[in-house]
Amino acid sequence: MSAASEAIIYSKKICMLGTFGVGKTSLVRRFVHRLFDDTYLSTIGVQIYKKEIADLNSAKGRPLGVNLVIWDLANIESLTPATRTHFNGASAAIVVFDLTRPETFDLKQIHLRTFLEVNPGAQVIFVGNKTDLMAEGPDEKALVAIAGEYDAHHFLTSAKDGSNVDEMFQALAANVIS
């Protein structure tokens, strides 16, 4: 393979933020392993996943890809010094809310401000998850308002049926290498 056609691959650390039970782990498992597990398994500490996204777009005529190293953090509500260190060096955060539980939209609980203090300039994507449980269609007003406040993208997803999950991660990957 000539140097001109060799892919440029970046590795980027991504943190999953959100209160318990919003579907952080399910979203990552759906994206990385194409799986959805109904049983709720509270993540202990941190779980790390990796997924490569290739052919994002070209740079100087060379294909461009990114390895997303995804840190799925648990117990984010009780921020400890150890939890805070998990934020170090992240290029982006995926903030996940449960559309069926308005109380999960409380940003103070997930310490987004701290995350951005540790990683100034990091990208943020807001995600309203569990659209499959919204019989009358999702109400995205709150999500739009929060995303607007941070001038960030937002997505409505379902880890259960997979809708919009790939699109969300693809958009994030494009953002972190732009």
Binding site: S11, K12, Y49, K50, E52, V69, A82, N88, A90, V176
Partner: protein
């Protein structure tokens, strides 16, 4: 008469049926008792308890496979359920068994170790043993300790280079042909999470340096921006630990800039593989004692040769002198002799006026044979210049350049840019001598702070006519612009202007004032430039 007849019939009936009636009553009572026991699970278990063990034992002895097949589908879920229900009970129940199992395993390992050590001792007259005894005398370590270290040789299996802050894997080498897999990325992250957890949980301020997992050990060599994680088995010796440290330092020295400005581009660390692979090679499976590479049967010839040489050595009296020399010789090289005050004075003398860094604030730390520089340099270029100068001035063979490049807030960076006026030769677009380092610093600041646009304003002294001065001032700004483009700043980030002699800084009546006026200034703000500007 009738009554008498009835009584007689009753008596006859009692005589004939009494026994049967009593038996029926007894059976009814037994039936009630049995019915009660059937509805009571505890009672059932009590009833079956004496026989169930025998029944199972008989069945298992008759057909183990059938029993295993019958029980297999329920055993897993049953165990899982029971563990979830009563973790402590299960732990209590298994504890004595696990303890015995571990003891047995350790005993087996120790037996093997003892056998290996005995084999070494049995070969007490071997060349290897004689060499070990000599080595023990010279190094001041017991022969038994050396034999033990040889019995548990160190073997490096994998080496990871991991970005300290993000946990992203920068490079990885493995002794396994198929050692590359996506799991390595996850291992890098998990090791970083564990290190961070240990550091914060115990608030020790110290980095985790060693993790044990069964017979595997992971040695972690911490660096400023990255760390090495080496997975190995056996006993690590001083040589290995020193090499590990040296490898980490070389990685930092070679890739300092890429590490400091790491943006996820791991390809920048491709060349670090060479040093990591060398570590793997020198302490890898190929070098285990007893491996094919060391089994070349030339030792008998070597022994004969050494015996002959040894005899001559002994009988000429050289042996005593040599042993005395070995004993008198210090085990470790003498610590590096560096007089920090003298070195600081020499450094200041060499670089005074050539750099803007605070030379007086630089500290010199001696660690064995290594001299480390601590403090701040005002730019990445000055950091290198200071490091090279110290290397020339000091006797240290290893210089560890730990100088930080000062990173100020944006407003301070802007103030710094304003202060960095570059001066020019008279009537010329050429920089005055010694001004180039300022341009390098401006480029560094722009890249560090991701500054979108910089404004360059050229000036002249008061000599010459206005039109020529305007052109000359613009030429000077253009000269600086070209330098910036050559050093990675995009053309559309640079706006230039020429203001001629309209904004003097110094008195044009004196040579010093004129020199001050022949300049290009830098700004992040369009208000600071004149109207005569463009970015073409």
């Amino acid at each position: 008469m009738a009554e008498t007849k009835s009584e007689n019939l009753h008596r006859l009936r009692r005589l004939m049926l009494a026994a049967d009636e009593a038996r029926v009553a007894e059976l009814e009572r037994a039936l009630v008792r049995l019915s009660d026991r059937i509805s009571d699970t505890d009672d059932w278990l009590e009833m079956l308890d004496p026989v169930i063990a025998d029944a199972l034992a008989n069945k298992i002895s008759e057909s183990k496979e059938e029993m295993a097949e019958a029980l297999a589908p329920v055993m897993g879920p049953a165990l899982k359920h029971q563990i979830e229900e009563a973790k402590d009970d299960i732990a209590d129940a298994l504890y004595p068994v696990i303890g015995r199992t571990i003891r047995r395993s350790i005993a087996e390992s120790m037996k093997q170790l003892v056998k290996t050590v005995n084999d070494k001792v049995d070969k007490a007259l071997s060349f290897q043993s004689l060499f070990r005894k000599m080595k023990s005398k010279v190094a001041g370590v017991s022969a038994g300790e050396l034999a033990l270290a040889e019995s548990l040789p160190l073997t490096v299996h994998e080496v990871f280079l991991i970005h300290k802050q993000s946990g992203i894997l920068l490079n990885h080498v493995s002794s396994q042909a198929n050692g590359e897999s996506s799991d390595q990325e996850i291992i890098g992250g998990m090791l970083t999470a564990i290190r961070d957890f240990a550091k914060t949980a115990f608030q020790s301020g110290q980095e985790l340096s060693n993790i044990r997992y069964e017979d595997l050990q992971i040695y972690l060599e911490d660096g400023r921006h990255a760390y090495l994680a080496v997975v190995c088995t056996g006993v690590a010796n001083d040589e290995f630990l020193a090499r590990l440290k040296l490898t980490e330092r070389r990685v930092h020295s070679q890739f300092y800039r890429s590490l400091r400005n790491f943006d996820g581009d791991v390809a920048a660390f491709q060349a670090s593989r060479i040093g990591m692979a060398k570590l793997l090679h020198d302490f890898g499976t190929d070098n285990e004692p007893g491996s094919g590479a060391r089994r070349v049967p030339i030792w008998p010839a070597v022994v004969l040769l050494l015996l002959a040489a040894g005899a001559a050595f002994y009988y000429t009296g050289l042996a005593d002198k040599t042993i005395a020399w070995f004993r008198a010789r210090p085990a470790q090289p003498a610590p590096l002799a560096v007089d920090a005050a003298v070195l600081a004075a020499e450094l200041t003398e060499r670089l005074q006026g050539k750099v803007t860094s605070d030379l007086a604030g630089i500290r010199f730390v001696v660690d064995g044979q290594t001299l480390a520089l601590e403090g701040q340099a005002s730019s990445a270029e000055e950091r290198i210049v200071i490091g090279h100068t110290v290397a020339n001035l000091s006797p240290a063979r290893i210089i560890l350049n730990n100088l930080n490049v000062a990173a100020f807030p944006l407003h301070q960076a802007e103030a710094r840019l304003r202060s960095l006026r570059v001066q020019f030769a008279a009537d010329s677009g050429d920089l005055a001598p010694g001004e180039m380092h300022k341009l390098r610093e401006v480029v560094t600041i722009m890249k560090t702070y991701d500054i979108p646009t910089i404004y360059l304003t050229g000036h002249t002294d008061g000599s010459g006519n206005e039109a020529l001065n305007l052109q000359l001032s613009r030429n000077r700004a253009e000269k600086v612009r070209q330098h910036f483009i050559e050093n990675g700043i995009a053309a559309d980030q640079i706006v230039i202007a020429g203001l001629g002699a309209s904004e003097p800084l110094g008195n044009n009546a004196t040579p010093e004032g004129q020199q001050l006026n022949r300049r290009v200034e830098f700004s992040l703000n369009t208000k600071d430039t004149g109207d005569n500007r463009d970015n073409e």
